[in-house]
């Protein structure tokens, strides 16, 4: 009786991974779900900032999917330097934005493989669908992910399994291939039918989009950090503090030597306060306004420009002059500046 196998599910909580989970579970296979924390999750950041604009708190969808199907779930924190290095030097390049999805999947699968081995599981499965995403879910890419992660024959994609070569669990009979799917492409019609058949009633709408790396404006800021370091003769790299700051505030590239970050809300201001060491801290005196940070080595003119932008985002924006305090370590200065009124200029500096 070798039939009762064990599998590791990589789930995001989206419809596809929930369906994959249900397909494998109904074959009586024991499943342990894993969800990877990359540090680039939009849900997590929304929560850090006190929920969405409408006051609701986004759910953790992976947890929801595991709970619905009563599958044990483990979170794996991969947000460390090894992951960040991969982001900067992806072997297979980036998708449309700063998302190196192929490398990222390989990275996750390697971690999942270690969990599979530790748990004595037979295989890993995901909610990937052949041809659904332009780059990371092409036939050749699915094969690359399997090969580079060292999971040859042990990586099952239940939703597209019938269109892919049989995996080891299918060959040995742990998984009944006949009960898997042959879905491909972007249409979600079969997924909708399958959700009905399997009794899956709850999934996030709209689909996907939990990763900052796929966000266009985030990508601009991400590459700006890399390019600026490289231009300054430093190593092209991203550190954990960058990740927090990249999703906080309005960013302005004042010059190749200086960047300004302006808080957009109370929560962001409080967050920026934690990152003052090594930077200059700007705040309007006498009138309410945001907290801002300046990184780098600005010239005198660039300091004035930064102070004018900070004044422009405060309550004194229509005043003739605003006093802006500049704190940098022991140094505290006050600059009397006219709030920047040239909107086109402000926008042009925006990263």
């Amino acid at each position: 009786m070798q039939k009762q196998g064990k599998a590791i599910a990589m789930i995001s909580g989206g419809l596809d991974s929930t369906l994959a989970l249900a397909l494998v579970r109904r074959q009586g296979i024991e499943v342990k779900a894993v969800n990877f924390y990359t540090g680039f999750c939009i849900t997590e950041t929304q929560r850090r900032k006190g929920g969405r604009a409408d006051g609701s708190v986004p759910r953790n969808e992976a947890l929801r999917a595991a709970a619905d199907l009563e599958v044990d779930i483990e979170y794996v924190d991969i947000s460390g330097s090894e992951y960040l290095d991969m982001l900067v030097h992806p072997k297979y390049g980036y998708g449309a934005n700063a998302n190196p999805c192929v490398d990222c999947r390989v990275f996750m699968m390697r971690k999942a493989k270690a969990i599979m081995e530790a748990e004595g599981a037979d295989f890993i499965f995901t909610g990937e669908v052949l041809g659904q995403r332009p780059k990371s879910q092409r036939r050749d890419t699915l094969r690359i992910i399997e090969r580079d992660s060292g999971l040859d024959g042990r990586l099952l994609r239940p939703l597209s399994a019938k269109l892919l070569p049989p995996t080891i669990p299918e060959q040995t009979g742990i998984v009944d291939r006949e009960l898997l799917e042959a879905i491909s492409g972007r249409s979600r019609q079969r997924q909708m039918e399958l959700a009905k058949e399997l009794g899956v009633v709850d999934w996030p709408q709209p689909a996907g989009g939990c990763c900052y790396l796929t966000d266009e404006s985030f990508a601009k800021k991400f590459f700006d950090v890399l390019d600026t370091r490289e231009a300054a003769g430093e190593e092209r790299r991203i550190v954990p503090e960058d990740v927090v700051l990249l999703s906080t505030g309005r960013h302005f590239r004042i010059s190749p030597r200086a960047k300004l970050i302006v808080g957009r809300s109370e929560v962001e201001n409080a967050l920026l306060e934690h990152h003052v060491p090594g930077r200059a801290r700007l705040e309007a005196k006498d009138v309410l306004g945001p907290i801002a940070l300046v990184e780098g080595e600005p010239t005198w003119e660039e300091r004035m420009l930064a102070a004018r932008i900070v004044a422009r985002y405060g309550k004194g924006k229509d005043a003739p002059k605003v006093a802006v305090e500049w704190r940098e370590g022991e140094l505290v200065e006050t600059y009397e500046v006219e709030p920047e009124r040239d909107e086109a200029r402000v926008e042009a500096l925006r990263i």
């Binding site: 953790n60 947890l63 779930i73 979170y75």
Partner: protein, 78 residues
Amino acid sequence: MPAPARTLDTSGRLCPFPIVETAKAVRSLDEGAVLLVISTDAGIATDMPMWCKATRNEHLGTFREGSAWKSFVRKRAR
């Protein structure tokens, strides 16, 4: 609520860390023992019951207290 065998304070930590730490703490608990988790992430009110359901631990309740939440979890018996 029953007296907790252990209290875990996750204040300041955000999704998914309160749950990651809860999972670790529950692992080191005796079966049937109760863990009290304090969290400042509002998401805990939905996450904790879901995590308990997924891992078949017993969610005894999550209550708001000022700006924090208190969750009581009883470790399942195998």
